[in-house]
C-alpha cells in the first residue's frame, strides 16, 4: 500500500505530462470542430442556379445518384482564400477528372457571376445560397469548405479552409483517392 502511495506522484506527473504533450502536438488544431456529417447522408437542401452562368442549380437529389464520388465546394466571391483555392480546384477538375459541385454562399449573384467569368467556372452545378441556410444544413463555420460525397450521397470527408498549398491538396487528393478506391472495390 505504502509503495503504491510513493508511486502516486509519479503517476500523476505522467498523466498530466501526457496531456500537456498531447496539447503541444503541432498536428492538433484546437479550433477544429468534428463534423457530424461524416458518414451521414448529405443534408436536405435545394438551391436555385446562379443566373447567367449556364450550369444548373444544386440540390440533395443531385448528389444521391451520381454513381461516383463528387466534391462539393462552398465558396463566395467575397472570400479571398476562395480565390486562391479556385486555381487549385480548377486544376483538379482538369487533370484529375474531379466532378466539382459548388455552393455559392451568401453572395450577390452579380458579384459571383463576375468572379466566375473572370476566373473561369470549374463547377458542374452551382447552387445559390443567398441566406446561408444551406450552409447551416451542411454545418459550415465559414468559407471555403470542401466536402467529398460518394456516389450514393453519403458525406465522407470534410476539409475546412482553402485547399491551397501542398499539404491541403495532398489531404484532399488522398481522401478522394481513398473514396474512389473504396467505391471501386464495392461495385
Amino acid at each position: 500500500m505504502k509503495r503504491l502511495l510513493v508511486a502516486l506522484p509519479l503517476l500523476i506527473v505522467i498523466v498530466i505530462g501526457g496531456f500537456l504533450l498531447w496539447g503541444l502536438n503541432p498536428e492538433r488544431d484546437p479550433n477544429a470542430i468534428p463534423s457530424v456529417l461524416i458518414s451521414q447522408p448529405a443534408p436536405e437542401f435545394d438551391l436555385p442556379p446562379l443566373e447567367g452562368i449556364g450550369v444548373p442549380g444544386l440540390a440533395r437529389s443531385d448528389l444521391t445518384e451520381t454513381g461516383e464520388p463528387v466534391v462539393v465546394n462552398v465558396f463566395a466571391s467575397w472570400c479571398v482564400p476562395c480565390r486562391a483555392e479556385h486555381a487549385e480546384l480548377t486544376r483538379m477538375v482538369r487533370d484529375d477528372g474531379v466532378r466539382l459541385m459548388g455552393i455559392n454562399y451568401k453572395d450577390k449573384p452579380k458579384d459571383a457571376l463576375r468572379w466566375l467569368n473572370n476566373l473561369g467556372n470549374p463547377y458542374e452545378r452551382i447552387g445559390t445560397d443567398l441566406d446561408g441556410r444551406a450552409g447551416i444544413e451542411w454545418g459550415i463555420s465559414g468559407v471555403p469548405e470542401t466536402f467529398i460525397v460518394d456516389g450514393s450521397g453519403t458525406v465522407l470527408y470534410r476539409y475546412v479552409g482553402p485547399v491551397v498549398g501542398d499539404e491541403a491538396v495532398e489531404k484532399l487528393s488522398t481522401a478522394l483517392a481513398q473514396v474512389r478506391a473504396n467505391a471501386g472495390a464495392g461495385s
Binding site: N31, I33, V36, P43, G132, R133, I136, E137, G139, S141
Partner: protein, 157 residues
Amino acid sequence: MTMRSLAAYLFVLLLAFPAFAVEPDEILEDPVLEARARDLSKQLRCVVCQNQDIDSSNAGVARDLRILVRERLVAGDTDEQVLDFVVARYGDYVLFRPPWKPTTYALWIAPFLVLAIGATAAGAVLLRARSKSGPFGLSVQEEAEFADLKKHLEQER
C-alpha cells in the same frame, strides 16, 4: 463646470449603453418567445468565434443561427427541439453544457471522483495523525517496537 455642461456630460454618459450583437430586425414581437430565444442563444456556441455564445457574437453564422433559433420557436418547437435541431447540424460541440451520455461520462464524473480520492487521502492522513500517542508522537505499535529495540540494546551491552 457649469450646470449646462454637466447636464450635457450626463446625457452623453446615458448614451453609452452596451452594444448588443442581437440586431433590432432579429427581435421577435412576442416577448415570451424572444426571452426563450435569448436564453437558448446563450447556450449555443458560435462556431466561428469559439468560446462566445451566439447571443453575443457578431459573426455572420452566429446571426444566421440566431434567426434560425427564432424561426424554430415561432414554428412551435420546444426549447429542446431547437437545441436538437442545431446539434443535428453542428454536433454536441455547439452546446456549452455537454450532454450526459456514454462518451461524456468521464467528463462529468471525473471532478467528483478526484474530489473523493483527495478527501479519502486527506482523511486517512488526518486519522493516522490523531491515532498517534505517547511523548514522541508514536503510535501504539511503534511504541512497542521501540520498547523491543531498547530491550535488545540493553541485552547486548
